[in-house]
């Protein structure tokens, strides 16, 4: 069972959540606004490792939050700003 830590509600089984997406990070080297939009929307990295992701706690507080997850182990890590 995969457990996800909601910042408002605590640790809950993953089926209470809706997965949003990987939090897209556009490289700073891409400077053209249109190119940045394309990169943001379409250029998925499919990282094997630690990713920033958006999750929605649908069965609890109904809030979106950002989580860090290691996609190779499914371990959730603390988010550091």
């Amino acid at each position: 069972m995969l457990w996800v830590e909601c910042p408002n509600c605590g640790s809950r089984p993953f089926e209470e959540y809706r997965y949003g997406s990987v939090f897209p990070v556009t490289p700073a080297a891409v400077t053209d606004p249109d190119a940045r939009n394309v990169d943001y929307a379409w250029m998925q990295d499919n990282i094997a490792g630690i990713t920033l992701e958006r999750w929605f706690h649908e069965a609890g507080c109904r809030r979106w939050f950002t989580a860090r997850r290691d996609t190779t182990t499914d371990v959730f890590l603390p988010v550091t700003d």
Partner: protein, 134 residues
């Protein structure tokens, strides 16, 4: 089955408030109000008197008729936690709001100091939850 402790849901009338978290922390709630803090910026205030949030001029306050509630005895709350809740009830000070799936239905529990609780569920899911935990 707790035969001596029937579960009766009633529709709740109250107010839903979306506001700055600090403003909600300091809001002067009406004396007849029962406040359920759903998230830092979101509160469900059960009661007839319209609440105000003076510290946030942009607060959104709307009537909320979408929840049903049932008062649970300490015994039934314990039974619910043992048999229908997969996650751990929060420890610490009471009253405290816990929310998540109960018997597979999204619901909320307002846990009181004496072990009793108020079970809240969206009206649309009320009968489903009733059937599952009866």
């Amino acid at each position: 089955m707790l035969a001596s402790d029937s579960l009766t849901f009633v529709s709740l009338r109250g107010w839903r408030i979306i506001a700055d978290p600090a403003a909600l922390d300091s809001a002067p709630w009406p004396s007849d109000a029962h406040v359920v803090r759903i998230s830092p910026d979101d509160a469900f205030v059960i009661g007839a008197t319209e609440p105000t949030v003076p510290a946030d001029p942009h607060a959104i306050v709307t009537p909320e008729h979408g929840f049903a509630g049932a008062a649970l005895s300490a015994e039934r709350t314990e039974h619910l936690a043992l048999h229908h809740i997969e996650w751990q009830l929060p420890g610490g000070a009471r009253p405290r709001v816990a929310q998540g799936q109960i018997a597979g239905v999204p619901a909320k529990l307002v846990l009181h100091a004496d072990g009793s609780a108020l079970l809240l569920v969206a009206c649309a899911a009320r009968h489903e939850l009733e059937e599952r935990i009866a």
